[in-house]
Symmetry: C2
């Protein structure tokens, strides 16, 4: 492993880093108030996240490094970015009390995402998920953003809270696309 050159085993990590890059750009776009584009970046992250696993399995190069990098990227793209996007686009413009509760729930969403990732990595289970995957939770919040002219704010607040709880729950979720 020492001094590892760029090899086949690095290829899935390129998709994982693309996942992180799109998550990073989503945050930049939130600052620029480009909320639809920010949500689109998170959707691109979901795509990259599904590709890295597929490519790793196809090339038979799943690695601990890749798994670690995947978790790290997932927290940014599907935990932090959707929480900040939802807070800023939907909850920040609401009355003060909604804004403060919204900030709290957005933080809880990101924290629960981190707990889920840390716990799932530790369990080392590969056949099913324990708790709703953060990719689903973050992707769902990004998709909701495309309907923000139709849906009231409490749908966003409620979804974040429910998804946060489901991420740290002990519910077994079947893995798709294996």
């Amino acid at each position: 492993m020492k001094g590892n050159p760029i090899t086949t085993s690095m290829i899935p990590s390129i998709f994982t880093l693309a996942n992180l890059l799109f998550g990073f750009l989503a945050l930049i776009l939130v600052i620029e108030q480009q909320y639809t584009l920010a949500a689109a970046m998170i959707v691109l992250s979901v795509l990259m996240d599904s590709l890295d696993g597929k490519v790793a399995r196809r090339l038979s190069v799943s690695s601990d490094f890749g798994k670690e990098l995947d978790s790290l990227s997932d927290l940014v793209s599907f935990g932090v970015a959707p929480a900040i996007l939802t807070y800023q686009a939907i909850l920040y413009p609401q009355p003060d009390y909604v804004r403060y509760i919204g900030l709290g729930i957005a933080a809880v969403f990101a924290l629960c995402g981190a707990v889920r990732l840390a716990r799932f990595n530790m369990l080392n289970i590969t056949t099913y998920f324990v708790g709703v995957p953060i990719t689903f939770a973050g992707g769902f919040m990004a998709l909701l953003m495309f309907f923000r002219n139709m849906l009231p704010w409490y749908i966003y607040l409620g979804s974040m809270l429910v998804l946060a709880c489901l991420m740290v729950s002990r519910i077994k979720v079947a893995k798709l696309g294996k």
Copy 2:
């Protein structure tokens, strides 16, 4: 391990989650253009990050879960938050070409931070660091923010680039405070 209740082993994770929370708040404060406060949040994250390890060693409850959660929090607080803070506060107001290069280098800083964390976790070395720790890199960028009325923009751009390279370098760095 199953159904783990809140036990002594959970105490260090409270500090780790506080680290992540301050990183999350730093991002929110960047959006609100409160750059000094955002930098202060990152400094608080550094403090929390140094406490979680100390507490875990004192209580002899170092765990894989804690290590995972620590890496996840570190990427947000010391990779993503300082990069976005530096880009937004210092580089965004510059001429177009600085802004675009700045965005690229900020993204590289965050990505190199993730690679460093994934690689270091995989190596499982506990006596020294390989590459400059992300906590140092992110903490340094946060401290620089307090001098932003005195320093030119290229100090920030250069520091981010150098620190990004040092994080993924193979330099052995002594661990302090063991």
